[in-house]
């Protein structure tokens, strides 16, 4: 079954959403995820899961502190990679950090693609989407009814 999208925004909403909720009950839309979607979800979980928790707890001082420290570390790494490596207690070289970022970016993008393909190939999701009985919930958003 094919899925019809009314706009590009509609398409990206479907592909990138965290979950679907039923427009009638407001509860999570239950369906059996296929293998492709499960693999994709596992691949993008490290970044999307963290971003989701962070955004949903953005008012928590602990989260604010954690984000601040992460940003400071990232800026230091970009401007002074050698100093960062020297200060680091672990034997982390700048190329390792770069490769790590590269790897996690690729994994996340591939995961989003696979998850999207899994959803597009799921007849239950397609039927509900075409009937407009489900709503996509983006990352970091709370379910509000």
């Amino acid at each position: 079954m094919g899925i019809a999208f009314s706009s590009t925004r509609d398409y990206f909403g479907f592909i990138s959403c965290r979950e679907f909720v039923s427009s009638d009950s407001g509860n999570s839309f239950s369906y059996s995820k296929n293998t492709l979607e499960k693999i994709g979800e596992a691949m993008c979980k490290p970044i999307f899961g963290t971003a989701d928790i962070g955004l949903r707890n953005i008012r928590n001082p602990l989260v604010i502190t954690a984000i601040t420290i992460t940003i400071i570390a990232a800026i230091t790494l970009v401007f002074y990679p050698g100093t960062f490596a020297a200060l680091s207690t672990l034997a982390i070289q700048p190329w390792m950090v770069k490769f790590g970022f590269y790897l996690i970016s690729q994994t996340t993008v591939l995961g989003v693609g696979l998850r999207g393909l899994g959803r597009l190939n799921n007849d239950a999701v397609a039927a509900a989407w075409n009937a407009k009985t489900i709503i996509p919930i983006p990352i970091g958003a709370e379910r509000v009814r």
Binding site: G2, I3, F5, Y11, I15, K98, F101, Y102, S105, Q106, V109, L110, V112, G113, L114, G116, L117, L120, N121
Partner: protein, 151 residues
Amino acid sequence: MIEYSNNDNIVFRFISHYKLGTQSDLSEYYKGDVQPNLIERIGDVGLWMLENIPRKVWQMATEPRVVTIALTAMTLFSITLAFYPVTTYLATYDVVVFVVTNTPFWAVKLAVYIALVETTIAKALRAYGRFSNQALMDKFYQPQQNTATNK
């Protein structure tokens, strides 16, 4: 329906006949007793690829699954280019050079030649089939006769 009038000058009448001879869809004419003949059908077969493949490619290109695969591949490539530009550029360059140098020019030329000849013959067959279809030609000239009668 293709507009045609005996009172038009030769250029407009030629254009009307050209449209009748080559237009892909003549479903407005083919009703009841008026049906395409064998020669036209052979021409249609020859033109199937030219007339249907672009539409099918467009349908495929707008299919969400294909869009997802293409976007994912493009993003993966862009990230690789952003993180390792020199390595990615050299690898891409090698692949392009390999493809270009291993594609024989004569084969491309021959393929284009065959495609052009085949299309020309098929168009000619379709036009010949339609112009030799008496029922179709009568129907094509009909609106002009009706208009003249009405006047």
